[in-house]
């Protein structure tokens, strides 16, 4: 415990993923977010006397998808347990969860592969459980508390890692990978603002080289990547300071909460005050058998995962790690990328188009990114090919033709170009005339160029392009301009 010893941080995460099923885990109520408070609350959700839970098999299937994606061991049958505690947002006085037989054991998630620093994060397990309602506290002077039970009973999977993460950055990378995975698997929208993903952090410090784990602190309910990082950083520093002051024993096993205003964590309850959850098997739900044939069915329908796509994009399509990573941010882009690439081999250009033009267009017009609202894949490919073959300039393609294509997603870009007279002009004579006109007009600049101000070349190019109304081939301009400037000796 010498202050000079370097310390390492040990982090384990518990990620709660809200499953995007239409109905709740044990009731047919809708799970839609943002509805009128307490409008999705049947007697089952509210725990009325005489009600019984009924398992939603889609939720089980979603949990299995995640398990298979992580190469976890899937249980051949699962049971549920009751976790008993009193809280106003918990309608039955217990949460139905899995204590003894989680649906998935082991498995792993790989992070950092796009940065050439792959790291395997082994998982402890994944289990299924129901969410609780939401308590709302309004103004300070409001004597009431409010509870919205719409969320109560929404299915969750809790993904629990082994304590192998070492930094805030790794924790963030893990979360981002999880988010990408659940989105690709179609089991969660990954929307952290709406609470679809939430995270508890377990964190402790220990002298480097030590094999024992230090006293861990749990930070509950973090709901953004940023807050996870901030909370870890704060807690790292707090514990570090105690270690360095020789007060490591003052770190107690406790639950802390993160203050999103001050970025600090504060103690919520210590171990002595921890709830005794009195887990016992849920007698209202018989075991659910997960047959090999069911597993095979789910496995068969498993989509390509982010890391698999990454490999495909960088190996087969030869994209840079950077381009591939950006493309991966949205599964729809990746799928569309592949569709467009069926019609052109300008893979890099396609990636650029998607990552820049297409993305900006959807961002600026605040449109949801859906494949159905993209141009027909062969038409975008046609546009990209036209640029490659110098039939149009990149500028014309991006600024003129693309917006028109978005409005007429079934019209050929060639037709658009013809209709709007946008095809590149490769008429040398006409272009020579324009160039002489420019060189005459900016005579002084020509002199300056001659004296070595070579940067003016771009200026001349721009002027020529302007006068050609953007239709001239940049290559041809460059060619002619170079020749004519030389001949002006």
């Amino acid at each position: 415990m010498q202050p000079t010893t370097a310390l390492e941080t040990i982090i384990g995460l518990e990620v709660h993923v809200q499953l995007a099923t239409k109905s709740k885990l044990f009731a047919s109520d809708s799970t839609a977010f943002g509805s009128e408070p307490n409008s999705q609350t049947s007697p089952i959700t509210l725990g009325h006397p005489g009600t019984l839970p009924k398992i939603n098999r889609i939720a089980i299937e979603y949990a299995i998808r995640m398990g298979l994606a992580c190469k976890a061991q899937i249980a051949s049958f699962i049971t549920f347990d009751r976790k008993n505690y009193f809280y106003p947002d918990l309608p039955k006085g217990y949460q139905i969860t899995q204590d003894k037989t989680p649906i998935c054991k082991g498995g792993f998630v790989c992070i950092g592969y796009a940065q050439n620093q792959p790291k395997i994060i082994p998982l402890h397990h994944i289990h299924l459980e129901e969410d609780a309602g939401k308590s709302l506290h309004r103004a300070e002077n409001d004597e009431y508390s409010y509870i919205d039970y719409n969320r109560a009973g929404v299915p969750l999977i809790e993904i629990v890692t082994q304590p192998v993460l070492r930094s805030a950055e790794e924790a963030q990378a893990f979360l981002m990978e999880i988010r990408r995975m659940v989105q690709y698997l179609g089991i969660c929208d990954g929307n952290m603002e709406e609470g679809s993903l939430r995270c508890d952090v377990n964190i402790s410090l220990r002298p480097e080289g030590s094999t024992q784990l230090g006293t861990r602190v749990e930070i509950k309910n973090l709901n953004s990547f940023r807050n996870v990082a901030k909370a870890i950083t704060f807690e790292q520093q707090r514990q570090m300071a105690l270690w360095q002051a020789g007060k490591a024993t003052e770190i107690v096993q406790e639950t802390r909460q993160f203050n999103t205003q001050t970025y600090e964590t504060t103690a919520l309850r210590t171990k002595e005050n921890l709830n005794d959850y009195r887990y016992f098997i849920e007698p209202d739900l018989p075991p659910v058998i997960i047959s090999q044939s069911w597993l095979a069915e789910i496995q068969k329908q498993l989509p390509l995962l982010p890391h698999q796509w990454f490999e495909r994009l960088t190996q087969h399509y030869r994209l840079s790690n950077y381009d591939a990573e950006i493309l991966l941010e949205n599964q729809n882009f990746v799928l569309y990328f592949e569709q467009v690439c069926q019609h052109t081999t300008c893979y890099k250009a396609v990636a650029n188009w998607l990552n820049n033009t297409l993305k900006s267009y959807f961002n600026e017009n605040t449109l949801p990114i859906e494949i159905t609202s993209f141009p027909r894949a062969d038409l975008l490919a046609e546009l990209i090919e036209m640029v490659a073959q110098q039939q149009i300039t990149q500028t014309i393609a991006q600024q003129k033709i693309f917006p028109l294509l978005m409005q007429n997603p079934h019209t050929s870009p060639k037709k658009i170009a013809q209709q709007y007279n946008l095809l590149q002009e490769n008429n040398t004579v006409q272009l020579q005339a324009i160039i002489s006109e420019v060189l005459t007009k900016f005579e002084a600049k020509v002199q300056a160029y001659k004296k070595g101000k070579k940067g003016l070349f771009d200026f001349f190019t721009g002027e020529v392009m302007k006068r050609s109304q953007g239709k001239a081939s940049p290559l041809l301009i460059k060619d002619l301009l170079e020749k004519m400037l030389k001949s002006l000796k």
């Binding site: 007697p43 509210l46 725990g47 009325h48 006397p49 005489g50 009600t51 019984l52 839970p53 009924k54 398992i55 009751r82 008993n84 009193f86 106003p88 309608p91 039955k92 006085g93 217990y94 509870i147 039970y149 005794d276 009195r278 016992f280 007698p283 209202d284 739900l285 018989p286």
Partner: protein, 493 residues
């Protein structure tokens, strides 16, 4: 025959014939029971709410079906009372507890749906021990139920109101619930028939939970045909209860008179008939029945059940554990009764639950919380789970050699009100013979088996293997059809 005699004396198929021939109406039947309720309920306290107007309206609707020759449900003419633990849409549901004061169910139990679909008439809800916890029906916010044969005696519990209602002709049948004997024990005390079918035979959707892995909806009637008919209507798979059996439901009512096997193999518990806790009259009646069966050529043999001493502790550990969790929802937050003037959430919980639950319920919640707590979990809850398995295995073994196990339903007949209320161990011993069926899940029936020297009824309990209700009902019927002997002095056995 007078209307009253028809209702009282005819069996159900005959009653339906009278209805079809329009010699009697459903309205007259309902009026008959309403009149009895009016006369007796004040003293007996079996019903806590009467749906008089509703029952009469429904009766007229069914009568109209008869006069217009529309198809009739199997239960047309059947007037039924519901124990206050069975949900009936838009009707109060309270489990005889203060904590559910003012609560109305938003849905009907599956059994209620099925009864109504067959034209049964529901006449009211019945008093019981709070949340089904008790053996004398003295733990009720509505007060104790009295035995109609002697109002100073208890009705038994927890379905005391349901048993007395049938006993005193206030309805034809009652739907009760049986977690440890709550249908069979009061049926025995009241001299009526009480059936607890196999666990999972009847959907629990709409049954207020006490101990989920034990709870069973049961039937109280005077005639075993009614039991069989009601069972065939309400049993069977149900998408609202994941634990209910998917097995097809036999037409029980068609099977009860089927010619019965010549020689049944019957076991009786040696210990039960030797125990000093069992009253001489109960012993005598049970012996008599055993001898009678032997005389008829059945094989009746004593068996030893090594776990008898463990049955009650196992039952009370596991049921209280489940109850502590099942009753956590009654917290004053979302529905039911809430304590006033509480300033913190903790205070609200404590006050609501301390004042809202009765003494027995509080005791069982505390017991259950204790046996599930981290430090005692292994010693109590886990151990009891293992013992439950052993009891199941030992019981299962019986069926290799026997068709039925017979026992007295209770060690003695109905005791006096307030007699043992302060002696919980003695009260718990009332269930000694009934809880085995709940621990294992096997079906069990209590049928009248004469009376004791004070005129109080004695019950004979018959148990059978899982889903053997057909055999069980046929056997019970065969016994009941024999002439009932009068009480003889126990020395004469």
């Amino acid at each position: 025959m007078k209307v009253q005699e028809i209702i009282k004396q005819t069996n159900f198929p005959a009653l339906q014939t009278f209805l079809q021939q329009q010699q009697i109406t459903c309205r007259q039947i309902v009026e008959y029971y309403l009149k009895n309720i009016d006369l007796k309920n004040k003293q007996l306290n079996a019903f806590i709410e009467i749906y008089a107007h509703e029952a009469l309206t429904r009766a007229s609707e069914i009568d109209n079906k008869i006069t217009t020759k529309q198809p009739l449900g199997k239960l047309a003419g059947m007037v039924i009372g519901l124990k206050d633990v069975i949900a009936y849409q838009n009707h109060p549901l309270q489990a005889s507890s203060k904590i559910l004061q003012g609560f109305q169910s938003q849905f009907s139990a599956t059994v209620v749906e099925r009864l109504l679909a067959e034209d049964a008439i529901i006449i009211g809800r019945q008093n019981c021990d709070e949340f089904g916890m008790g053996s004398s029906n003295e733990n009720s916010i509505f007060g104790a139920v009295c035995n109609a044969l002697n109002p100073e005696r208890v009705a038994g519990g927890s379905s005391g109101g349901s048993a007395v209602a049938v006993q005193a002709d206030m309805c034809r049948a009652s739907i009760g619930s049986d977690t440890g004997g709550s249908v069979r024990q009061p049926a025995a005390f009241c001299g009526v028939i009480g059936l607890k079918p196999t666990y999972s035979r009847i959907s629990r959707w709409g049954l207020v939970a006490y101990a989920s892995s034990f709870d069973c909806i049961g039937l109280i009637t005077k005639d075993i045909f009614d039991t069989a008919l009601l069972l065939e209507v309400i049993a069977g798979k149900d998408e609202y209860d994941s634990t209910v059996s998917q097995k097809p439901v036999p037409a029980y009512s068609q099977c009860i008179n089927q010619s019965i096997k010549k020689a049944w193999r019957i076991a009786y518990l040696q210990e039960a008939l030797q125990s000093t806790a069992v009253s001489p009259a109960v012993k005598h009646r049970t012996w008599q029945k055993i001898q009678q069966l032997q005389a008829e050529g059945h094989i009746v043999e004593p068996v030893s059940f090594p776990f008898l001493d463990y049955i009650l502790p196992t039952y009370y550990i596991l049921t209280t554990a489940e109850a502590s969790s099942n009753l956590a929802r009654y917290d004053g937050i979302k529905f039911g009764w809430r304590a006033e003037n509480c300033s913190t959430i903790e205070q609200l919980y404590k006050q609501t639950r301390t004042q809202g639950f009765g003494r027995e319920v509080r005791k069982r919640i505390m017991l259950g919380t204790y046996v599930l707590s981290a430090d005692y979990y292994d010693a109590y809850y886990l151990k009891a789970q293992k013992v439950r398995q052993l009891i199941k295995q030992a019981t299962d073994k019986l069926w290799q050699n026997y068709d039925f196990l017979i026992l007295p339903t209770t060690p003695r007949t109905a005791f006096c009100l307030n007699e043992i209320q302060q002696e919980p161990m003695q009260m718990y011993l009332e269930d000694i013979f009934t809880v085995q069926a709940n621990l294992t899940g096997i079906p069990a029936i209590s049928i009248p088996n004469g009376i004791d020297e004070e005129g109080m009824p004695i019950g004979l309990q018959i148990m059978a293997n899982y889903f053997q209700e057909t055999q069980l009902l046929a056997f019970a019927n065969a016994i009941l059809q024999r002439k009932v002997c009068n009480f003889e002095n126990s020395e004469n056995q």
